[in-house]
Symmetry: C2
Subunit: 158 residues, 2 copies
DNA sequence: ACACCTTCGTTCGAATTTGAACAACAGGAG
DNA sequence: CTCCTGTTGTTCAAATTCGAACGAAGGTGT
């Protein structure tokens, strides 16, 4: 499918893009993780759960739906929602239309915690990523990575 | 430093770029992880260790140096090098110029495993990222993320 | 109503990651 | 030389992640 003899290696530009992506991704995650933990006691994943819930209608989402948005495993989500439940930031209730379904819901305290954590997080994302790039670079990045994400989502069903 | 009253939230383009980055990063890692594990029994991290060693002079690197390149914790690297050592892909030897130093070195078997794993990995990176983007998008991505990485590396020392 | 296949969320064990603490050493100022 | 500070790699406990297996329920065709 790909090659009969020699594989197509990455040239200099391609390699630079790929390495840049990997390195930037790792470094960014590292920094955001530290900042959120120090500032609000949340992991990046936990923060993202709160964000997605707060952006959803009714501040609530089905577990599977949430796992898809977060790009994580179902079991991983179960674990993190349990943690957030213990912290009082998220609640579970059963789905009316599906007995199997579980709906994760933002609590008042969760909303408040997010409101308090968001500014610092956004400021750091800005400082480390957004403000480093030009307006044009941002647009290209958004469009390009949007296409990549779409490409990846389409055949994500093994 | 950042704001006296209201934080500067992300506008639509900025949010798209940021979300695209996070989602693409997670999806990509997920896919590469699966492919490498199925194809060669290596994790992405282990693969990257082999790559960095094979790219280094003498197929060897100091532990700290390697940890920096991989953007991982020292303890995490210790663990993974131990795993690779058990698999016979990497060896440890002590540093001549520094008694404390430990040098990780690629074994013949490690070189061979990498040679066998690389084509499939590169092909997937190509399919999921490189070939989805235009030549221009690639150049912008490389330049932009290079700047971001540089920015992140500069004040990474807490 | 019945079998059949898929989906949902959780549980379980194994693997991995992290930061803090640690002992041993390097490098320089005095 | 001698202190003093920073570095190096490892160990440790704790937290997190994943995939496979699971029971329970949805949905469909007959």
């Amino acid at each position: 499918m790909s090659s009969l003899n020699e594989p197509r290696w990455l040239d200099q530009d391609e390699m630079a893009a790929w390495r840049g992506f990997v390195v930037a991704s790792n470094l960014l995650n590292r920094r955001l993780e530290r900042q959120l933990k120090d500032d609000s006691g949340l992991s990046h994943q936990q923060y993202e759960i709160l964000v997605h819930l707060s952006a959803a209608p009714g501040d609530s989402l089905r577990m599977t739906e949430l796992a898809d948005k977060l790009v994580t495993s179902k079991s991983g989500l179960t674990y993190q929602v349990t943690q957030l439940e213990r912290m009082g930031l998220v609640g579970r209730r059963s789905c009316p239309s599906d007995v199997r379904g579980v709906i994760a819901e933002l609590t008042d305290q969760g909303r408040e915690t997010l409101r308090q954590a968001a500014p610092g997080h956004v400021a750091l994302v800005r400082e480390l990523l957004i403000d480093v790039l030009t307006r044009e670079q941002l647009a290209v990045l958004a469009e390009g990575l949007g296409a990549v994400s779409a490409r990846l989502r389409q055949d994500d069903t093994p």
